[in-house]
């Protein structure tokens, strides 16, 4: 039987919810960029921001569930060995159901609008002259070639600040082309091309990993990429052996 603390569960629950929400929001703001690889593109920056926004939106919801559970376990559990008596008979509460539906719909619509907006930004092609790189996956290596030159390489070099368009295909089965630092991922399929583009905005080295299970050495289908200055990029291109 609940004691005379009828009002207290709600106040305590509210306080718990508040504390958990604040903690959740703080974690949501600071964690994503620290837990994920260093952002090296505009895509990735937007992706991390989206994760922050989604986490902040989720924090009060999750906090509510946990606050409820904690306080239900503290105040509403039956003590003793006897069979518990019946609880209050509440079969319906139109106000609660409607409010819940309304809030969850609004939250969903907000996330959807943000997501579609981010998608539009990602897809918007800003540059008329992106650097095109052909990416070919095969069991179990990546190779990159630069149309317009005769350069082919197993490591990816990109000039900073210039939009790059990856045209991805496979020589055998489906692979997954993924640059974790840049938030770009697209499958490499045999017999067709897929494209994805981004603009690297940080110098440095990054990993390219295969995310589509491709057989025996899937776990070892990794190669390196480098974002370099425009000058260094030209130097590198010129120094590559020219394929006939």
């Amino acid at each position: 039987m609940t004691t005379s603390n009828k009002k207290n569960p709600y106040r305590g629950m509210f306080l718990t919810w508040l504390v958990l929400t604040i903690a959740g929001v703080i974690v949501s703001i600071y964690a994503p960029s620290r837990l994920m690889p260093r952002s090296m593109s505009d895509n990735m920056h937007l992706t991390v921001l989206t994760m922050i926004v989604f986490s902040v939106a989720a924090a009060p919801v999750a906090a509510g569930i946990y606050a409820f559970a904690i306080h239900a376990l503290r105040h509403w559990t039956h003590k003793g060995e006897a069979v518990p008596a019946a609880g209050p008979v509440v079969r319906e509460n139109a106000v609660v159901v409607t409010t819940w539906l309304l809030v969850s719909t609004l939250l969903t619509v907000f996330l959807l609008i943000w997501g579609l907006g981010a998608l539009a930004v990602d897809n918007g092609s800003s540059s008329k002259n992106p650097l095109v790189v052909d990416v070919t996956g095969q069991q179990w290596v990546w190779s990159f070639s630069y149309p317009g030159t005769h350069v082919q390489s197993n490591e990816l070099y990109l000039p900073v600040g210039r939009e790059v368009e990856f045209r991805v295909t496979s020589d055998d089965i489906t692979h997954g082309f993924w640059i974790a630092n840049m938030g770009v991922q697209v499958d490499a399929n045999a017999g067709t091309w897929t494209t994805i583009h981004t603009t690297p905005n940080q110098l440095g080295t990054f990993d390219i990993r295969c995310t589509q299970f491709c057989g025996l050495n899937h776990a070892f289908m990794v190669t390196q990429g480098h974002v370099v200055t425009a000058q260094q990029f030209t130097t590198w291109l010129d120094s590559q052996p020219q394929r006939a």
């Binding site: 989206t50 569930i65 991805v168 499958d187 025996l216 776990a219």
Partner: protein
């Protein structure tokens, strides 16, 4: 605890005499192996051994032989054969098939009593979970440190696929199998399912499918995840044929079970049991069954086409012939997404039931519960391509699929509303079912929220194919569905056995599993966020700490599951005795004796209200 049937001396069918009366799992296995060999032999004899597809053709023939022989051996084909010959079962035959006077032996046989089938499903669930769990431990043991030290890549890669399918099959049946069969007919006030022989068929077909799937481990050489993407599936060895045939056979089992459940609930409710008075669990069972009827044909077809590409060199998924792997992906995920709700809904509906009984309050907003489950099932048909956001297929459809996927969070949220509303200000009885239910609540919110991340395309571009996805769906399947399934087991265990599942051992198991889930899968989220793809047999050094923690957590879950298994086994005969209605609930299964007699009711009850009035004398005529 022996059944009340063992010593009746009414017009029971005479035991002995006739091959059909001696059929059981042993004869099924013999039949399966015999016909598997026969079909192998015939294929071997008539096919050109130098042909590129020889081994696949022979393997497929073998698997077809296996299931035909298995069905023959268990007696599943007796009734169709007799029907065709114009001989129908006599009443004595029917009572024999229902297991009358056969004691424990009937659990090994083709038994039409829905309660026997329910118990058989409990065993099958544990077998599948156990086998999948052993593989999970092998996988995590391999991943405890970088490098391939425990098993080599080839073996490891095979483990992943079989672990995946074993667990998926286990979870599809985990709640719907045991309780959809044991409890639902009684909840409706019926004497059995609509089609009792089909009921036995669905169970034994599952056993046959499981046999094929487990054989895959021995045959080996799988090269893809359980999703069986093409065109890589064409590279796999003959294990792939066993795997695909296991799926095809499984869809027969699940189709038959789905038809049975729906017909039972719609046509066999007792007088006064309107749809609005049905326990909410029954609603979950039929909505899940209907969704399964929609989804599983795609699964059978896509696996059949995979087999055809391998054995006949068709070009469904091979680019050089005009096919495309994207066709496979679409067909698969048309099944694959509704399928996760086929798995989830029975567990959620069972928890609604448990919440009500344990809080001593009616289900909050019964209508919302039904609307939520129905809405979820309906929407789930429209979201499948969110699994394909990064494939490069139809980028213009990304927005619409993002819309439908994010909308699904609304009916999912309603599940929380119903659970919370039911528990709100209740007199919550803290027994085993309740504890596992709270575990579900804590885990499901994480499962749901991380799904929302993945539904957003820019985030999915980053996280797809990483361990983040793996952690997300393990929070769904292990953290949520499995916890719901254990809650359901603890809840209805006294009805099956007449004893409580050991409370102390059950709590130990809970804490091990609950803490284990957080340790395992939270660290797995970190691995994914940091950049570790999934299905990796080894990994770079930057992932070693999170992987180590994940493996430690996995061992905790395993320990919890072993304790639970021990509890299930020992409580069966030695647990604390429970009366016929230990939870003082009102639905019909608690109104019949434990164990329920054959045909459940001496006199079919007439219902005048729903089962959610506690503390009052439930008025029945």
């Amino acid at each position: 605890m022996t059944t009340t049937l063992e010593h009746t001396t009414t017009d029971a069918a005479p035991l002995g005499g006739g091959l059909a009366r001696r059929q059981n799992m042993a004869t099924a296995l013999v039949g399966g192996v015999l016909f598997a060999w026969l079909f192998w032999f015939l294929a071997h004899h008539f096919l050109d051994a130098s042909s590129r597809n020889y081994s696949d053709l022979v393997s497929v023939s073998l698997t077809i032989g296996w299931i035909i022989g298995f069905w023959l051996g268990i007696g599943a084909l007796n009734a169709p054969a007799r029907w065709m010959m114009g001989r129908d079962n006599t009443h004595a035959d029917d009572m024999y098939l229902a297991g009358q006077n056969q004691g424990k032996a009937r659990y090994w046989k083709y038994c039409t009593d829905h309660k026997v089938v329910g118990v058989q499903y409990i065993i099958m669930t544990m077998v599948l979970l156990g086998a999948g769990g052993i593989l999970a431990m092998a996988i995590r043991t391999e991943l405890i440190v970088p490098g391939n030290h425990f098993v080599d890549q080839q073996v490891y890669n095979g483990f992943i696929a079989v672990h995946g399918l074993l667990m998926i099959l286990a979870l599809i049946v985990a709640v719907a199998g045991p309780w959809g069969n044991f409890v639902v007919p009684i909840m409706c006030g019926a004497r059995d399912m609509a089609f009792p022989r089909l009921n036995a068929l669905s169970l034994w077909t599952l056993v046959g499918a499981a046999g094929l799937l487990l054989t895959t481990l021995a045959v080996g050489s799988l090269s893809m995840g359980w999703v069986v993407l093409e065109p890589i599936a064409n590279q796999a060895g003959v294990g792939m044929d066993f795997f695909a045939m296991a799926v095809v056979v499984f869809t027969v089992s699940t189709t038959v079970a789905g038809v049975n459940t729906i017909c039972t609930v719609l046509t066999m409710r007792t007088k006064g049991m309107t749809l609005a008075r049905l326990p909410i669990f029954v609603w979950g069972a039929i909505i899940a069954a209907a969704l399964g009827l929609y989804a599983f044909p795609y699964f059978a077809l896509v696996e059949a086409q995979t087999i055809m590409d391998r054995t006949f060199n068709t070009s469904f998924f091979v680019a050089s012939g005009g096919g495309t792997g994207w066709l496979q992906a679409n067909l698969f995920w048309l099944m694959g997404h509704p399928e996760v709700y086929v798995i989830l809904l029975p567990a959620v509906a069972a928890l609604f039931e448990i919440a009500s009984v344990m809080a001593r309050k009616p289900v909050f907003s019964y209508r919302t519960a039904i609307a939520g489950m129905t809405g979820l099932a309906g929407l789930s048909i429209l979201v499948w391509a969110h699994h394909m956001f990064t494939t490069g297929w139809a980028p213009t459809l990304g927005g619409p699929f993002m819309l439908t996927t994010e909308l699904i969070s609304i009916p999912t949220g309603l599940f929380f509303l119903v659970l919370i509303g039911t528990l709100w200000r209740g007199n919550i009885w803290m027994k085993l079912p309740t504890i596992w239910m709270f575990g579900f609540i804590a885990n499901f919110i994480i499962a749901g929220v991380t799904g929302i991340y993945l539904s957003d395309i820019p985030i999915d571009n980053q996280l797809h194919g990483t361990m983040f996805v793996t952690a997300h769906f393990h929070y769904v399947f292990v953290g949520s569905v499995l916890f719901g399934a254990v809650a359901a087991l603890a809840f209805w265990y006294p009805k099956v056995t007449g004893r409580f599942l050991n409370e102390f051992q059950g709590r130990i198991a809970f804490w091990l599993a609950f803490i284990g889930v957080q340790v395992t899968f939270l660290s797995m989220f970190l691995s994914g966020l940091r950049g570790m793809p999934r299905r990796y047999s080894s990994y770079a050094l930057i992932f070693e700490h999170t992987n180590f923690i994940t493996t430690v957590g996995a061992y905790m879950i395993m320990a919890g599951m072993l304790v639970l298994l021990g509890a299930v086994i020992t409580s069966w005969n030695k647990g604390e005795p429970a009366g016929p209605n230990p939870w003082h609930a009102n639905s019909l299964e608690w109104m019949v004796p434990t164990p329920p007699p054959l045909e459940n009711f001496t006199v079919l009850p007439v219902i005048t209200e729903d089962p959610y009035n506690y503390g009052e004398e439930l008025v029945r005529s």
